[in-house]
């Protein structure tokens, strides 16, 4: 494989990783506030279909993305209302919505299967696109890909470097303490659930209008993406850069799978399509090793020189959720 091909492939990874980055950063923001939006798999498929539909009818890509965001907002309002206001199980509501949104997408999207909606083109950035290597890699993409990259830095800056971001961390870690310090926990959790959901809602149309253009019902190939995004959020330890790394790693492996498929034709394509899932389990196992008892016991038996290194490695890998993730806030 020539250098140029590899460069093209890597640029494709950044392009194909964009929806995953956007959705995973959105979910990270929501979960940092202490709310799990488990509906992602259905939400992405539904917003993908609705965004495609609206673009098809109006011939406007912008309206397609706005529709996706609106779907994201609608679903996350449902999640916020039932889990924050009504204190119902976030897992239950999220799971029901994951399944129901998917069915809804296939139902409503049935008549528009296989139609031709507008496709978003790349907008290369003048001058920057001519830089060798970096140009083709980063500056010859669509607007949404640029947005996905900017979003990583913006989310990191907001969460770690600003006062409201500190409050965001507070309501996810120790909501009672944040409340005492004057944070309106309920309002802020609503806000971040909705912001995160709106971002996830962008990922859907980004697939059907660009990365995997077209709507083909159940074989569109989006089933499973939402679960992967949720796993990437965990793998990323709820930190924007690490989450983005996970998203690109996933996109890279998918590309590798495609490359391998053309050479290893004896593997049925259906089998390669699910390759991400054993990988998902393994990575989750890896980042959780440091939280298990038996690992601690093994480490205790290691000789000193090895023990310190292993502990360092496991700490670096370990991912710990926000302290109050998934629990309702009780004002005492």
């Amino acid at each position: 494989m020539s250098g140029e091909m590899i460069l093209l492939g890597l640029a494709g990874v950044i392009e194909a990783g964009a929806p995953i980055v956007i959705a995973a950063i959105g979910e990270t923001i929501t979960e940092r506030a202490g709310v799990t939006n488990l509906s992602l798999n259905g939400l992405i498929i539904l917003s993908a279909m609705m965004g495609f539909w609206v673009s098809l009818e109006t011939n406007s890509i912008l309206l397609g993305f706005l529709t996706g965001m609106l779907i994201g907002i609608a679903v996350s309002v449902l999640i916020a209302f039932s889990s924050i206001t009504l204190k119902q199980s976030q897992v239950a509501v999220g799971f029901i919505l994951a399944i129901t949104c998917e069915d809804l997408a296939y139902f409503l999207g049935n008549p528009i299967m296989g139609e031709q909606a507008p496709i978003m083109f790349a907008t290369p950035i003048p001058f920057l696109q001519d830089i060798p290597i970096l140009g083709p890699l980063f500056f010859q993409h669509s607007v949404m890909t640029y947005l996905s990259i900017v979003l990583i830095f913006a989310a990191w800056f907001w969460i770690s470097k600003t006062r409201p971001g500190l409050m965001l961390q507070g309501i996810g870690e120790k909501p009672e303490a944040a409340f005492v310090r004057g944070a309106n926990v309920v309002k802020l959790r609503y806000l971040y659930t909705i912001v995160g959901g709106a971002l996830v809602g962008l990922a859907g149309p980004l697939y059907t209008l660009s990365v995997k253009a077209g709507w083909k019902g159940t074989i569109t190939g989006l089933n499973g993406i939402g679960w992967i995004v949720l796993a990437i959020t965990i793998f990323g330890g709820w930190k924007p850069f690490r989450v983005a790394f996970g998203a690109y790693l996933f996109a890279f492996l998918q590309w590798l799978g495609l490359v391998l498929q053309s050479t290893l034709t004896f593997i049925p394509s259906q089998v390669l399509q699910v390759a991400p899932f054993p990988l998902m389990i393994l990575t989750l196992l890896l980042v959780n090793l440091g939280n298990t008892e038996w690992m601690e016991r093994i480490i205790a038996t290691l000789p000193d020189w090895l023990r310190n290194r292993v502990i360092k490695l496991i700490r670096a890998l370990r991912s710990q959720p926000p302290g109050a993730l998934g629990t309702p806030f009780e004002r005492e």
Partner: protein, 350 residues
């Protein structure tokens, strides 16, 4: 508030949830230009319009009984066994494997069928144990472990159908070669309803009902579910009980898959689990995890599934509408339950 009034109050909110769900689905139907009343009528007729349709409803009812019963066990330990779809699939795969193995042997078919069902149950339990091990010893949340295992099971299934077990000539989505008739479960005359399946499914429900209501084992499972720490202090080995609950549920899921193979399809097909595992999770939430309600609600959901088959034929609508209706019923009833608690809480606070 006295108990009778509280109960009436509760029923009122449940009816509210059902009404909201139907209103929501009606809006969706109007959106695609279909008449809601005609569609609902079609659903009912599709489910109970003829004797063979009612028999079809029962064919769907049986796996739903089994998976929901199994899921109540994992729910009582506070676990979300989303991996149940994969456990059904593994059950079906092992059952098919055993039957294929003895296809040409001179064993009596009844023995082979029994053996294959046992293999299916073991397969389901082992696949569940994998999710359990990941959870209890690997720290991997059972939702993600289970989901990952579901996709792997599907790939394994499709890999077998298109690979090692493919049909002679050309492999296809229609599944493996059907078994000879002597390896089929007996059915009622001129219906596709198999009576041993019916017996096993109802038996499964009864077993779980008594297991959770009246046994020491059931109580311990619930103690683990109520709070890991307190159960641990009581001397209940929590990890062991979590593993056990996974495996009991896996046995039920494996049995479901086995029965789909020997009594319904008589071969392995790509979507052998038919989404019944996820549907079982929905039913369990809808009935608020009370075993006594499994039978009627599973029957209702099964009727919707069968009624939905008529949608594409008569009205050119996608049959996924059934899932939308089932999902919104669960969602709105759950939401109304929350609203009720909030209203009651406020009333008591005053």
């Amino acid at each position: 508030m006295d108990q009778a009034r509280a109960r009436r109050f509760s029923v009122l909110f449940q009816i509210g949830g059902i009404v909201l769900a139907f209103v929501f689905v009606s809006v969706i139907l109007l959106l695609v230009g279909a008449n809601p009343l005609t569609t609902f009528k079609l659903l009912v007729e599709g489910a109970v319009g003829s004797a063979s349709r009612i028999s079809n409803v029962l064919v769907v009812w049986m796996p739903l009984l089994l998976v929901t019963s199994g899921l109540l066990v994992t729910f009582s330990t506070g676990l979300w066994n989303i991996g149940i779809e994969g456990q059904i699939t593994l059950g079906a795969i092992l059952t098919t494997g055993v039957i294929r193995l003895f296809l040409d042997a001179s064993f009596p078919p009844v023995l082979v069928i029994i053996l294959s069902i046992i293999a299916g149950m073991v397969g389901g339990a082992l696949w569940a144990a994998l999710a359990g091990l990941l959870k209890t010893y690997g720290g991997v949340n059972e939702i993600f472990g289970g989901l990952g295992l579901n996709y792997i099971a599907t790939a394994l299934n499709i890999g077998l159908i298109f690979g090692a077990w493919s049909r002679e000539g050309i492999a296809s989505m229609s599944g493996t070669d059907p078994f000879p008739k002597e390896f089929w479960f007996p059915t009622f005359e001129s219906f596709n309803l198999s009576w041993p399946s019916l017996v096993l499914s109802i038996l499964g429900l009864i077993v779980i009902f008594f297991l959770l209501q009246g046994t020491h084992f059931g109580l311990r499972l619930k103690a683990v579910g109520k709070g890991m720490r307190s159960a641990f202090r009581l001397g209940i080995p929590t990890k062991k009980y979590m593993m056990l609950s996974f495996m009991v549920c896996g046995l039920f899921a494996g049995l479901t898959g086995a029965l789909q193979v020997v009594a319904v399809y008589h071969r392995l097909i790509p979507s052998i689990s038919s989404g019944y595992g996820y549907l079982g999770l929905m039913i369990a939430m809808l009935i608020n995890f009370r075993a006594i309600w499994i039978a009627p609600i599973a029957l209702f959901f099964a009727a919707l599934n069968i009624g939905g088959i008529q949608l594409p034929i008569v009205q050119k609508l996608d049959s996924s509408l059934t899932g939308v209706l089932q999902g919104s019923l669960v969602l709105f009833i759950l939401i109304m339950q929350g609203v009720k608690q909030r209203v009651l809480g406020k009333a008591e606070g005053e």
